[in-house]
């Protein structure tokens, strides 16, 4: 039997893998909650990347086995993690000194919306009954050297997340450098929003139709 289903775009794991390939050896990296957490699984052989989690660990390791879980050794998403040999623990003021003081090289975050000039909205829909919760997102975009976003290209309802201007409250203005979606990798530059790479079976037109701002090739 011939499989006629044509796969369009990248899976979440493939998106995470794309991000991992762009993280240089020796980087200090903070990963946000959700898809960003998967990036750690795809670091290419021969590269050493140190993960910081803002609740106080530099040198975050693999997910623990059930019997080695420690409820006081967790990541920013409050999931149990492990620490690598050579890790360190620290309090919140030190942790955010790393973040706000410009010591972290790359941060990978999720997004609700990203605008063509790199504005990021990822903490609140601004809806009346929503409980606003910001965590460390505003500190990360203000202080980390390079901000990568990893997100589905459109919402569950099919609305574009890459937009002319964010309608949701901002996390930071002109902070995002690169966007990895299931359909493409986009670079935000002064001259515009450029398509760096199209995912399998995604045409420029297909991508543009699902993007609420003008893309450049």
């Amino acid at each position: 039997m011939v499989n006629t289903d044509i796969k369009i775009g990248w899976s979440r794991a493939e998106m995470a893998q794309k991000v991992a390939l762009d993280i240089p050896d020796g980087s200090y990296v903070n990963l946000g909650i959700g898809i960003p957490e998967m990036v750690a699984d795809f670091v290419p052989e021969g590269r050493e990347v140190i993960y910081q989690t803002e609740n106080g660990l530099l040198g975050m390791g693999k997910v623990p086995e059930e019997d080695e879980k420690d409820p006081e050794l967790i990541n920013a998403g409050k999931k149990c993690v492990t620490s690598i040999l050579g890790a360190s623990y620290f309090h919140h003021a030190d942790s955010f000194t790393m973040i706000r003081g410009g010591h972290i090289d790359i941060c990978v975050l999720g997004a609700m919306q990203v605008s063509k000039n790199g504005d990021l909205a990822n903490w609140s829909t601004g809806a009346k009954n929503a409980i606003p919760a910001v965590g460390g997102a505003m500190d990360l975009v203000a202080g980390v050297k390079r901000i990568f976003v990893i997100t589905q290209h459109v919402t569950k309802h099919g609305d574009p997340k890459i937009v002319e201007e964010c309608s949701f409250p901002l996390t930071g203005k002109e902070v995002v450098e690169r966007i990895y979606t299931n359909l493409a990798i986009l670079d935000i530059k002064k001259e515009g929003l450029f398509v760096k790479e199209l995912a399998p079976n995604v045409s420029f037109k297909y991508l543009q139709d699902r993007t609420a701002t003008k893309l450049k090739q």
Binding site: K78, H91, A93, I131, D139
Partner: protein, 237 residues
């Protein structure tokens, strides 16, 4: 002789008065001083302003303190967490105030409070709704917002080891807000898993020097919040 060790959690929190500001350590359950919080529920002080990163889970610990209507206002960075139902409900009914602060700004405000720094400028939250109404200033061509240091009447902290002076060490990521909150309160109350003899903690690895601590209570087997939540426990039991 200096001896900060007290006999019970209830005695440790007995001075917390109505209207007090209380910093509570912890990031999620890691570092949350659950026995001290339960003692504060037994004690009953009301109209508290609580400074803590989250708002608790289930119906124990900080969530139970909020559910017991003892908290007038929360100052925190992330008030919604999986299993956090108590705060959202009261907040949507308008029965509890919220001051939402970015996590790093919260940490720095606490650090500043403890260090006698009244205010500082930061880049965090510039151009966002959280900077609205705040003083801002251009420094070297960049915009910064003014944030004020926070002090509190009390801090409730969980640590791993303490001696009678209040020299503390912590466990893994349970350290989080502990060391800075210890510095920012008039009275810091600590629950420790183990009390050790003075000198047993190498001075090189003391994380919180004893000068920042007023009272210590030993709780050898602290409850695990996630376990209590999984078992649908509710405090007071």
């Amino acid at each position: 002789m200096i001896n900060k060790i007290v006999d019970s959690a209830n005695q440790a929190v007995s001075e917390i008065h109505d209207g007090a500001s209380v910093m509570i350590g912890g990031f999620g359950e890691a570092g949350s001083p659950i026995e001290l919080i339960h003692a504060l529920i037994d004690h009953g002080a009301k109209n508290l302003t609580v400074i803590s990163n989250n708002t608790g889970s289930g119906h124990v610990g900080l969530a139970a303190l909020i559910e017991n209507k003892q908290v007038k206002k929360m100052i925190c960075s992330f008030p919604r967490t999986a299993n956090s139902k108590v705060f959202p409900e009261l907040y949507n009914k308008g029965e509890i105030e919220l001051e939402l602060v970015p996590q790093g700004t919260l940490a720095e405000r606490i650090r500043a409070g403890g260090a006698g720094i009244p205010a500082f400028y930061t880049q965090t939250s510039v151009n966002t709704p959280l900077a609205k109404g705040k003083e801002s200033r251009l420094i070297n061509g960049k915009e910064y917002v003014l944030e004020y240091g926070i002090k509190a009447d009390f801090s409730l902290i969980k640590c791993d080891k303490s001696d009678r002076y209040g020299n503390l060490t912590y466990h893994a990521t349970a350290r989080n807000f502990g060391p800075i909150m210890c510095t920012a309160a008039k009275t810091t109350i600590v629950q420790t898993k183990n009390i050790v003899e003075a000198g047993e903690i190498d001075p090189e690895i003391v994380v919180t020097p004893g000068i920042f601590v007023k009272k210590i209570i030993e709780i050898n087997n602290p409850a695990e919040e996630s376990q209590l939540v999984a078992n649908e426990k509710k405090y007071p039991w």
